[in-house]
Structures are given as C-alpha cells and as structure tokens.
C-alpha cells in the first residue's frame, strides 16, 4: 500500500504548528496504525529529520496512551477501537490520511500529536478512589453485588482515559470520562461512603477545565470502549442529589 500522510507538526506548546504531508510507500495492510507511524519515523530519522511525536504504551487498546484524530474521527474510522488497534487494512491504497491532535483548552499540545491530559488526573485526584481499610483481604463474596450492577460498574470501569470523548465533543466536555470514573465506584457498595462527596468534587473539578454537555452523543461514538452516555445521566442525577445531601451531612457535625 502507498498512502499520503498529512500530519500536524508542532514544535512545542506555544509554537503555531501546521500540517505536513509525507508520501509513505510500502505500507503493509497488516500493520497497525502506530506501526505505520513507526515506519514513517524510521525514515524521518534516517533523513536526519525530527520524528513525529505521538504517545503510545501497551499497543493492545487498554492503556489509553495513544489517541489522535484520524480523518476527522477520534481513533480513526473503526468503531470501538483505539488507535493502536486500528489496522492499515481499514484504509485503501492511495488514501490520504489526515492526523491531528486532540483539541481542547485542557489538552495543550506537547509536540505534534501528543497532548497533555493531566487535567484528567486532576479530576481523579478530586475523588476517583475509595478509602479502604488496609489489612488482610476480606473474604470473597462477603459483599454480595447483583450481577447487573457488577456488569454496569464494569462497563464504566472499562474507561481507559484516552480523552477521545473530549476530542469528539463539539463542546470539549469531559462528561463521559468523569461520569465513567464516578459510576464504576458509585454503583458498588465499596464506593457508597464517599459517593456524594466524590460526585460533587469530581464534577466541580471537571468544570474548571472542560466545556459543558449538550447531549450530542458524539463521545459515545468516539469511545474506544463504547461507554454509554447513560452514565452521564447518572452523574447529572447524582450531582444534584449530592449538592443537597452533602449539606445535610455537614449539618451532622454541628
């Protein structure tokens, strides 16, 4: 296969950046998208040019490091697939492929198509954990959880934090990420003690960085884990409840 690659090149967070076009012959249809970029980078390095900077780690779709806009779609044309699991056989010989970084105020470009997603870390720090007693592991099946509840929590926990939801959203909202990170704890018994404090803190931290949801549903389409926007509705309900409940909880100490 021979493709034309049009990639966003940007030297640093404050540089302007622009598209550059590369002719890429000799692409095997069995290559993953990132392997194709590796080949391009090898050739660039041999030519004494700066290789394209992109993030990657596990290359099996579970770490959430990779991610770029491919032909106008986050993670490329295949649904429910991260960039690393996208294969070149999904493209045709002679195609032009346009690659662009995630665009959001909260995701500044570090270089080329690598962006800083630590805004997501700020949201997790605000409450995306449970405080558990340390010590011996509790007995298995000590806390019974109905199967549908466990399944729903697992669906939410599938979020790999890649940022495609923010990239896909016309408003750069991080509602799908935040709601998934809330739901996988808020649905389970272990997450109940801090449920309302967590919901309030994570939503309000999210709103420091990201836009607001208008229920387009683009995030679900872009999500490599196909996380449902039902979790966004759950977050909205929990947030309004949390505002009331947290006030009540505060009154307990007076």
């Amino acid at each position: 296969m021979r493709i034309t690659l049009k990639v966003w090149r940007q030297d640093g967070p404050t540089s302007p950046g622009s598209f550059e076009t590369y002719d890429v012959p000799g692409v095997s249809p069995d290559m993953s998208f990132l392997e194709m970029l590796d080949v391009v980078n090898d050739r660039l390095t041999l030519d004494g040019k700066r290789p394209i900077v992109f993030e990657h780690d596990c290359r099996e779709g579970i770490c959430g490091s990779c991610g770029m806009i491919i032909n106008g779609v986050p993670h490329g044309p295949e649904k429910g697939t991260a960039t690393c699991q996208l294969h070149m056989r999904k493209f045709h010989d002679g195609d032009q492929i346009v690659v662009e970084p995630w665009r959001a105020a909260a995701f500044p470009v570090i270089r080329d198509v690598a962006v800083d997603r630590s805004a997501f870390d700020r949201i997790i720090e605000a409450g995306g954990y449970i405080s558990t007693p340390t010590g011996a592991a509790p007995d298995a099946n000590l806390t019974l959880i109905p199967k549908p509840v466990a399944d729903a929590a697992m669906d939410a926990a599938a979020c790999i934090g890649c940022g495609a939801c923010v990239a896909a959203c016309p408003n750069s909202a991080a509602q799908l990420f935040t709601s998934a990170k809330l739901a996988h704890l808020n649905l389970l018994p272990q997450g109940q003690a801090e449920r309302w404090a967590r919901t309030e803190a994570m939503v309000e931290t999210m709103e420091e960085f990201f836009g607001s949801c208008t229920n387009h549903g683009e995030c679900r389409e872009a999500c490599p884990k196909e996380i449902s926007i039902d979790f966004i509705a759950m977050m909205n309900r929990d947030y309004v409840k949390a505002k009331r409940k947290n006030r009540k909880l505060l009154s307990q100490i007076r």
């Binding site: 750069s172 387009h216 683009e218 947030y239």
Partner: protein, 279 residues
Amino acid sequence: MATTTPARGSSTSARGLVRPTFKQPSKRLPYPIGLYQTAVGKKWVMGVTGIMMMGFVLVHMIGNLHMYEGPAEYNEYAEALRNLGGALIPHEGVLWVLRLGLITAAALHIHSAATLTIMNRRSRPQGYQAPRDYSAANFASRTMRATGIIVLLFIIFHLLDLTWGVFLGDDYIKGDVYNNVTRSLSSAPVAIVYMLANIALAVHLFHGAWSLFQSLGWNSPQFNQARRVFATAFAGLILVGNLSFPIMNLAGVVSQDTRTTPCAAEGGEETDICLGVNE
C-alpha cells in the same frame, strides 16, 4: 475529598502545562441557588425550564384548536383564560402568575444557554484544522442555538402581532382574538413567518425533549427506548398543530368570512357581541 465546604480553591488544580480554563466561584451559594453556579446545575435548570415551556407550548396549541369550533367558542376560550381561578381571584390574576413563571423560565433558559455557550467556546480556543466528521450529533442538536434564537425572535414578533396589535393597526380589536388571528394569518408573509418559526420550534423540541431526560438524569433501561419516541411524538404533535393554523387561514377554512357572530360587521366596538354573549 472536597465537599460543600467553601475552603476549596482552584489553586491546587494548576500544575505543569495544564491550567484551569474556568475559576471555581469564590463563594458557593446555598443549595438550590448554588446549583446555578455550575454547568451541570445550569443544564438541570435548562431541563426544568424546558419542561415548563413545553407545557405552555402544548396547552397553547391545544387551546388554539378552539379556532376550528368558531369565533364565539374561540373567544370564549380566550376569556376563560383571563378568568382562570373564577371569582376567587382577581381578573387575569392566575394568568399573570403563569405569565411571570414563563417569563422567568424563558429568562433562565436563555441565560443558561448563553453562559454555557461562552464556556464551551472557551474550552476549545483552537478548533480542528482539518474537517471533523460528526457521527452522532444530528441536525437538531447541532442547531439548538440557531433554532432557539429563531423561536425567541418569533415570540417577540408574535406578542407584538397578537398581544399588542402593533402590525394590525385599526384591524386589531382587543378581546376579539378570532378577528385578530384570522386577520393576521390571512396575510401570506405573516403566515410564512409563523410556519418557519414553528418548524424551528419543532426542530428545537426534537432535541430538547430528548436531551432534558439526560440533563435531569432521568435514565433507566425501563424507559430509555421511549425517550426518543416521546421527543419525536411531542415535536411532531406541536408541528402539525401549530402549522395547521396558518395553513388553514391561508386556505380560507378559518377566516372572517365564515364567522356568524356579528363582531366583524360591527367593526368590533362591542366585545361582548364578539364573545357571543348577546347573541
């Protein structure tokens, strides 16, 4: 974990390359009002006010169907609205409470939409340089701001036209609703404005009546399938009902010529006659 305590500042959030785009409010107001300081809360307010205005739009459309019964019945309906609450409450008392509620709802709905739009613009200062390919966002959801503005402008036009009679001049008869509606809608340009505005309203409702379930967190596998059906049916019902009025007026099915009450002939000096009281 931070809670409702006001001690939290945004200073902890700024580290490394990433800076918060928006400041947390320096003072969080108490519960129901404080909701309005947050984006999720504002969307909740938009959902609630949306339901209020949907209720109005539905009742308004159903009420206008009295037009097809005839002048006397139509004007009687209008008088009944002013007399809501009967003798217990001053004339137009209940009506004014409803009006003030709707004005407040509309104001909050518009203010939320405007401030959230500004927020959304700021959260992506540099847009995509290559064309984006949207797959889920439909025409209605992408044009909410445009259709919302069209509906707002139309409401102003509609009030000027039929509540204050600015455009009808001497043809406008206060209290003779049938006369005013038929005279206004028998003009083709006005009827077209009404039709276009109601198409915009239906498009707005098609997304809004679904979206409110998400914003209010009304989500359950038990009825999720019905939400799209509801929104489509509601938007369709409003569209058909509201479009019928300008169309039937243009077609002459409803017009001054068909009225049997003497109001038009009298020049509308006596509204009691128009109401069919002295028939």
